[in-house]
Amino acid sequence: MEEIILAQTGHGEEAEHAVEAVNGAAAEAAHGAAGHGDVFEFSQLFHHMEDTVLLQLPSFSIGSLTIDLSITKLVLMMILSGGITLLAFGALARKIRGGAAPRGILANLTEALFDFVNRDMIIGMMGEKAGRQFAPYFTSLFFFILFANLIGLIPFMGTATSNIAVTASLAVLTFFITQVSAVRVQGIVPYMKHHVPPGMPIFLIPIMVPIEILGHFIKPFALTIRLFANMTGGHVVILSVIGMLFLFKSLMLAPLVVGFVLFIDFLELLVAFIQAYVFVLLSILFVNAAIQPEH
């Protein structure tokens, strides 16, 4: 993806040449950071999209698998968003458990959002009983994604959710919860029987059963791609618009570019909320379909 955008910096030369040249510049920028020369290269803007290792930890291997748990920028952002979630709601939960009414700026700020997620999304969709059972997971998921998205909008920070590995692991969690709760609630044999709806013509079974099974894997894949593409897309649009300044080398364009970038930034703010909402809502729908198959 980087190559596509970077190729725009070539002034109509052969695309391959431009890509090579720009790749070289990117490698240089990665090595020398912003320190070399006084010319600011467009590729340096990509520090926002890149993941850099902050703290190298020794990697260890199990069999042929090498595991490297180094703290990179995005790992730090994930820890940060998880920590904010814990801090904001841990304090609130302790207060309420102690019997005190939630008061103060933090409580008022978080309570409205918390209430929306809990009452409207989870209990509204799943019903009182199942909703209470799954509320802790989905609430944490919502606020983790929301804070990860919002942290990405702060300059010099990174968007953890614009890494496909992060979104994929979140979707895998949803996948396992869906399958495990489906087997636990329905039992393994009725759950397997569900893949063959009653009254289906016999010649359709070899076609329909693989499609049904494939559907289980496509759902979390769609969740992965949706969150990843939305969070990456916004940044790429902003970088492309800023790239126009470097392409035309004209300051006259600056007000237009800055205005448009500001507009996209506000759109990103909206998208951060909507995508957290959509990810959690679709997860709730999948789990709900698994535990209440008659609905």
């Binding site: 596509i4 052969e14 769609a222 791609i225 949706r226 593409a229 909507i274 809502l281 729908l285």
Partner: protein, 73 residues
């Protein structure tokens, strides 16, 4: 020049046209329903966002294929 880039660009454009038509129609009818029945607004909004996300998901599948095409060529 490689035709792969052209294919990726045209494909991305077509995918976006499809998603645009889909979400446009969805929003139009959702807004009309909200206008006719404002008391059902919350319910309609949730369902509208779910449908929009599903349409968007299909468009993203197409875009991912285009990106893969562009990176391959």
């Amino acid at each position: 020049m490689d035709l792969g880039f052209l294919g990726a660009g045209v494909g991305a454009g077509l995918a976006v046209i499809g998603a645009g038509i889909g979400i446009g129609r969805l929003a139009a009818s959702a807004l009309e329903s909200m206008g006719r029945q404002p008391e059902a607004m919350g319910d309609l909004r949730a369902n509208m966002i779910i449908s929009a996300a599903l349409i968007e998901g299909v468009a993203f599948f197409a875009l991912v294929i285009c990106i893969m095409l562009a990176l391959k060529s």
